[in-house]
């Protein structure tokens, strides 16, 4: 996710996805915000928010809920330093503006690494950890992630190709 913040450090805008197009206008893929930041390209040039003074990538998808936080940026981060000589990330924490609860980047990334290691080469499921562009994390009033909870539904008979063909 791409976030922008104002002079007070308050998150004022987010971007879940942005496609990249070729010179003919054809979509060729999604822009990797984290990689753009790592390459030293100012993210604030991708989406210009007039009130924003900074932009950075964040590993979680929070959608509009991110605007309940302010950013804590790494003071050593500088776009002018070459890659490898500056911190990997610009935003190192999101702090809830009301409760003060911190969402530390290192905590999220360490958990991602742990799950990848546990997966032993298989795809690691981190959806509950970082959400997704179409399903952001659900946060409580203090900014803590909460389970979405199971949806209670009744199961009705439904049409499938199997039972249309006489198979159940």
């Amino acid at each position: 996710m791409l976030i922008r913040w104002n002079a007070d450090g308050d998150v004022i805008a987010t971007s879940d996805v942005m496609v990249q197009r070729d010179e003919n206008g054809n979509v060729i893929g999604f822009i990797d915000f984290a990689e753009v930041e790592a390459e030293g390209i100012p993210l604030i040039e991708l989406v210009v928010t007039p009130r924003a003074v900074g932009a950075g990538a964040w590993p979680e998808w929070l959608a509009h809920q991110a605007q309940d936080f302010r950013v804590e940026v790494d003071p050593d981060f500088s776009m002018h330093k070459p890659r490898g000589q500056r911190p990997d990330h610009r935003v190192r924490a999101l702090v809830h503006k009301v409760s003060g609860y911190r969402r530390d980047r290192v905590t999220v990334e360490n958990e991602i690494k742990r799950r990848i290691k546990e997966a032993k080469g298989k795809p690691a499921d981190i959806r509950d950890l970082v959400g997704g562009p179409t399903k952001p994390l659900l946060l409580d009033a203090e900014g803590r992630a909460i389970e979405r909870g199971r949806v209670r539904v009744r199961t009705f008979p439904h049409v499938t190709r199997e039972n249309e063909n006489g198979r159940q």
Partner: protein, 359 residues
């Protein structure tokens, strides 16, 4: 190779298949031609002096005791060969060995390289042949293949069922030799590429250049027809529009520019929701909403005149839209408010920038 031809001792002439000369052991023993002392009607072998002059003169089948010869008389590279016979009436006799052709009367035959090399079929006996009934087997040195008489036709075909299960490796199959006929209709194929039909399935996705993808749902309704255009999401994000309570701001325009999407020749479509709260449970208004006072307000139809008509009092109204700044897409929200609320006013915007596209 199984031997099962009952051809007996009959001699035959054929190209690449030589007549046999039975009993070609060499000259027979003639007692009168040698100067051996004979004792009555029986030769005492212990008294026979064997030397260079007797080489080839002693018939083994008469003067050597059956079963008395071991391996020791043979050089290390020479060993007697036992021919297994297949026919019930065959004696398993080795008929000829001439360096090119080896033939046993039992019907197990090796066809040699003598004659004119060429089509292996030229070396095979013409069928039907009583000497090579159905099931007769030959080994042809010309092509090093085994031939069988199957219903009057020489064949070197093999029964695939006789192959060891899962023993055929990829290197044993010619590249490109397997076609769609050999595949199961339900086969799952990785990295499919049908360049002729310009259909490519690879880890990066599915590409259909000249065809159309058709998808039916469970009840047979075509939900993707390969022709209908759809909206594709180019950008998805959120931002806020904050209207200060400064007593002077009655309208405001907040926007975001999206240079990351490149340039546009025409203003793209959008789907933008506006909300007055920042929780998932807040009402989402589609691009436009206004708050109005449920009570009426009264106006005068003339300046300075008495109020004579009522109107609905609108507190604020907001509208979201896309526009182009030069050729860069912008998502904007215009707001018009009254200044009696006593606090700032925030509109939460969630927007999708869309592009009409073929599926």
């Amino acid at each position: 190779v199984a031997a099962h031809n009952n051809r007996g001792s009959r001699q035959r002439h054929q190209k690449g298949f030589y007549p046999q000369s039975r009993g070609s052991h060499g000259a027979r023993f003639d007692p009168t031609a040698v100067d051996f002392p004979l004792y009555g009607s029986q030769m005492d072998m212990e008294a026979v002096q064997v030397g260079p002059d007797t080489i080839g003169q002693i018939p083994g089948d008469e003067y050597i005791e059956d079963g008395s010869l071991g391996l020791s008389p043979f050089a290390d590279s020479v060993r007697p060969v036992v021919i297994s016979t297949g026919g019930s009436d065959s004696d398993g006799e080795l008929l000829q060995e001439d360096g090119y052709e080896l033939q046993q009367e039992t019907g197990w035959t090796i066809l040699g390289e003598s004659g004119t090399p060429g089509d292996p079929g030229d070396l095979l006996p013409t069928l039907p042949d009583d000497d090579y009934p159905d099931g007769a087997t030959l080994f042809n040195l010309t092509d090093n293949k085994i031939y069988r008489n199957v219903a009057g036709v020489w064949t070197r075909a093999l029964d695939g069922a006789d192959l060891i299960a899962e023993s055929v490796t990829a290197s044993a199959i010619s590249a490109g030799a397997i076609g769609t006929v050999e595949l199961s209709a339900s086969a799952v194929i990785a990295l499919v590429s049908n360049e002729g039909g310009t259909t490519v399935i690879n880890p990066a996705g599915l590409t259909v250049t000249d065809g159309a993808i058709t998808v039916e749902n469970a009840i047979g309704t075509v939900i993707i027809d390969g022709s209908t255009l759809i909206f594709r999401i180019l950008y998805n994000g959120t931002f806020t529009s904050v209207i200060p309570d400064d007593g002077t701001t009655f309208n405001q325009s907040e926007y975001e520019s999206l240079p990351g999407l490149g340039t546009f020749a025409a203003t793209p479509a959008h789907l933008t929701y506006l909300a007055t709260g920042n929780t998932g449970a807040d009402n989402q208004h589609l691009s436009y909403f206004h708050n109005y006072n449920a009570s009426e307000r009264w106006l005068s139809s003339t300046s300075g005149g008495a109020t004579n008509q009522s109107v609905v009092y609108v507190w604020d109204q907001h509208q979201a839209f896309t526009r182009l700044s030069g050729s860069t897409c912008q998502v904007a929200v215009n707001s018009a408010i009254h200044q009696a609320s006593g606090s700032s006013y925030t509109v939460y915007v969630r927007t999708y920038v869309l592009e009409q596209s073929a599926l």
